[in-house]
């Protein structure tokens, strides 16, 4: 009985389950709009460049093009006013032989960049939830 009360206290006390009446801002806004997403993309490229374990995958990549397409994709995914014009995830990652480790590392880099930019934890998770399903289209192709 005691334990049950503690549980209720912990979950309710944290305020997480309390309903807030304000409408949630769009993810696009939470990421900082066009300039925010540009900064996240650049931050991610910086992380990739300094990660010797994954940078090799990008040695033949047209980086400016990749940058623009990634920003475009993040913009569209998060509900911004963009239409992604690149190849499908399956098409663009087939033949790269990416591993789960490559994917894990990219996710960690993205989290690092979002932390640096003070993106709220809930917005980080909203973006990650949109990216996670792409795992099977990207890894071991």
């Amino acid at each position: 009985m005691k334990l049950w009360k503690l549980m209720v206290l912990l979950f309710c006390g944290s305020g997480l389950l309390a309903c807030s009446s304000q409408p949630t801002p769009s993810l696009y806004q939470q990421l900082g709009g066009e300039s925010g997403i540009a900064a996240i993309t650049d931050g991610l490229l910086h992380q990739i460049e300094h990660d010797p374990l994954i940078v090799n995958h990008f040695r033949d990549t047209d980086i400016p093009r990749f940058r623009d397409l990634l920003a475009e994709q993040l913009c569209e995914l998060s509900g911004g006013p963009c239409v992604y014009s690149g190849a499908t995830m399956e098409e663009s990652h087939t033949g790269l032989n990416l591993t789960t480790r490559d994917f894990d590392r990219l996710v960690n880099h993205l989290i690092t960049v979002m932390q640096q930019r003070d993106i709220p934890y809930s917005a980080q998770n909203r973006l990650l939830a949109l990216l996670a399903p792409m795992y099977s289209e990207v890894v071991e192709r």
Binding site: M7, L16, F103, Y121, L128, A132, S136
Partner: protein, 274 residues
Amino acid sequence: MKFLLLLLLFSSSAVLANSRVIGTGGVTSIEGSAGGGIVPWAVINGYHSTDEWSANSFISRVSVDDFTLNSAGVGVGLNNRWELSYARQQFKLDTIGGQLRQDIVGVKYRLTGELLYTAMPQISIGAQYKRHLDFDLPAAVGARSRDGVDLYLAASKVWLDAIAGRNLLLNATVRATKANQTGLLGFGSDDSNGYKLMFESSAALLLTHHLAVGVEFKQKPNQLAFADEQHWRDIFVAWFINRNLSVTAAYTDLGSIAGLSSQQGWYLSLEGSW
């Protein structure tokens, strides 16, 4: 040990590294397997990913009204696929007097699924070989064997952005066991030596990248005639300080043990991972 060396040899390309997202190794349970505090999950210990391995160790204490359980152990994980673990438990009978110790060697294999990424939950099978070191007392109260093997199947999944923007982990484990009080009172009884199927589960909410709160439930058989055995439960807070260090605190209810009812108290665990 030989098995472990073989594994490492076969995958000599694996490097000691921690590429996985923080929190995805769970913590180390009192039995040495990665999971919650009392339930083994489908997660593989540490933060190594594919082509990597990692090592970890833990020390924990559960202090309830009339007993203290000290556990300590080491483990390695490989390729986010294999987990090997060893733990020593010392169960001190603070009121009755004396102690009961057992060794637990565990192996876990991830069958399918990626905790964070796939719609399919991460599913693992595992075994825990347990050997009692002070079997006289369990034998005196009706336990049949000094050692036993638990087999389990676990499914774990994280739902990103599940509740108020937080990530939710749910785990369900089915365990086949002959153990009395998880083996601390030996295995089987005078009139029963069959496996019992037990259900265990955990739920955890990640409040931040570094902090999780959750609850656990562990169904237990009740085979010894001398005293009732009851299900275990706890409510926990885990603090993942970084990829190398985590601390878990819990309030736990172990029910009745050896005739002493309503055993409740605190659980504290410190874990290192490399």
